[in-house]
């Protein structure tokens, strides 16, 4: 069953088409990696999934519901099931790390302060940042800010995760830490996700590895072998249209000149 579906979506900004007749179908617990140059509509797709912008034409279905023309108030229950990591984290700079992660819980007002604090600590622990609870986002490095953004997005246990270039500008070690978090969510929590990136190393890791939970609770990452269920598919965009969709192998084997240039 598809969790996210775009049906011939068109979006224009100031007369410039950003998405043209764009269609996409993502099943539960799978990941779609969106690749493409600047202005090809990758981030626009994420914003449309969230309902932050509306398409000019076409239909968008998220978690089985047509969100194309929903009002802001009607979108709120759907957004509660979606987590998003923006390009630079988009943490609230006037709030501490703990307050950022607790934001959604405080807005919902269903838990006591003690329960909120406990939940926040467990999510910060998941991203390996237990000691940053009282720090301000300005005191963190770029990689730490993105990890806090992941923790914030995970509060409420989203069924869908959207990542907007979460590894851009990060060193390989920090980048790997973030990719491992993304893979854990995909493989262990079965979160459906869209991963926007131009980081080919990240694409390779996502498409060729999977997370395995050991009986003792330890988590390890192993390479996929032929015949394994590969939940990651790559979609290459050019000028708002799908240029290619398939596995990492198909992507690397493509003879399309734009993809060849992109890979080289």
């Amino acid at each position: 069953m598809s969790v996210i579906r775009f049906d011939s979506v068109t979006k224009t900004f100031n007369g410039t088409p950003v998405l043209r007749q764009f269609s996409m179908d993502i099943d539960k617990a799978s990941m779609r990696v969106l690749l493409g140059g600047s202005g090809t509509g990758k981030s626009t797709i994420l914003r449309i999934v969230l309902g932050l912008i509306k398409p000019d034409r076409g239909q968008v279905y998220v978690l089985g519901r047509d969100i194309t023309r929903l009002e802001e108030d009607e979108l709120m229950p759907i957004r509660e099931k979606i987590g998003v990591v923006f390009q630079a984290g988009a943490l609230f700079d006037s709030l501490s790390v703990g307050e950022n992660v607790a934001y959604r819980l405080r807005e919902q007002g269903e838990l006591s302060e003690g329960e909120i604090e406990e939940t926040v600590e467990s999510f910060l622990g998941f991203v390996g940042l237990q000691d940053t609870f009282d720090k301000l986002p300005a005191d963190l490095s770029g990689g730490m800010r993105r990890r806090v953004a992941i923790a914030r997005a995970l509060v409420g246990h989203p069924e869908v995760m959207l990542y907007d270039e979460p590894t851009a500008g990060l060193d390989p070690i920090t980048s790997r830490t973030i990719i491992e978090l993304v893979m854990r969510l995909r493989d262990l929590r079965e979160v459906t996700s869209i991963f926007v990136t131009n980081d080919l190393h990240a694409v390779h890791t996502l498409a060729s590895e999977r997370t395995v939970a050991e009986a003792d609770g330890e988590v390890r990452f192993e390479r996929l072998t032929a015949g394994d269920d590969n939940r990651t598919r790559i979609m290459m965009l050019e000028k708002g249209s799908v240029l290619m969709e398939g596995t990492e192998r198909e992507f690397h084997d493509s003879a399309n000149p734009y993809i060849r240039e992109f890979l080289d």
Binding site: L50, L52, M76, A88, A90, F92, Y103, E107
Partner: protein, 252 residues
Amino acid sequence: MNPIYRALYEIQEFVLLSVKSLGNLFRGPRYFQDTFQQMDTVGVSSMTIIVLTGFFTGGVLALQSSKSLQSFGAVNLTGQLVALSLIRELGPVLTALMIAGRVGSGIASELGSMVVTEQVDAMRALGTDPTKKLVTPRMVACTTMVPLLTVLADLFGLIGGWIVAFYTLRLNTNLYWNTALRSVQYSDVLEGLIKPIVFGFIIGMVGCYAGLRTRGGTRGVGQSTTQAVVFASILVIISDFFLSKIVLEFRL
């Protein structure tokens, strides 16, 4: 887009945001803590500049008017002139212009920075309506605090006028305060309080609108900040004319 259509579109969007912001007063969730925090920023933090503005405006009013009044032998009426000018006109307008410069710009730059760093989008994605969390508390804070600051400006303006009248014009203290307070009618006080309520609403809404419409990074934030101050100041002066006209017509 055609400049006329663009202007009409901006007016439409501004009106829609204002209506939505007012509508939020009757729909939850309500952000009382954010509202009190904004009241502190708008009100308490602006007290010093408002006290100084009011004090010296009252002083200069007494100084300037004394020359004209002397030629009619009516220097005794200095208190009356200072009181009426301040309460009906200068107190509300000068307070509003100072707040537009200090608070309107701050609101526009704060919200503008949040827009360009995607914090507003993140807020929406986390299930919060930014008009409820960001706009309505600022609108309420400006609408309630500008009238209070105007009262403060009026009070310190009268004190400034009295100091000039007493030490420079050698006017009797009782005479100054008697003419000042006796001349003020209920309708003058009402006019002096209605105007700042409208001005506060304008400053808050223009600041929020300019901030939320920010595009184009840090340069866009600068432009929004300038626009907020310019448009809020112009709208304050224009609305002051129409409010004065309405008040005079209906003899409020």
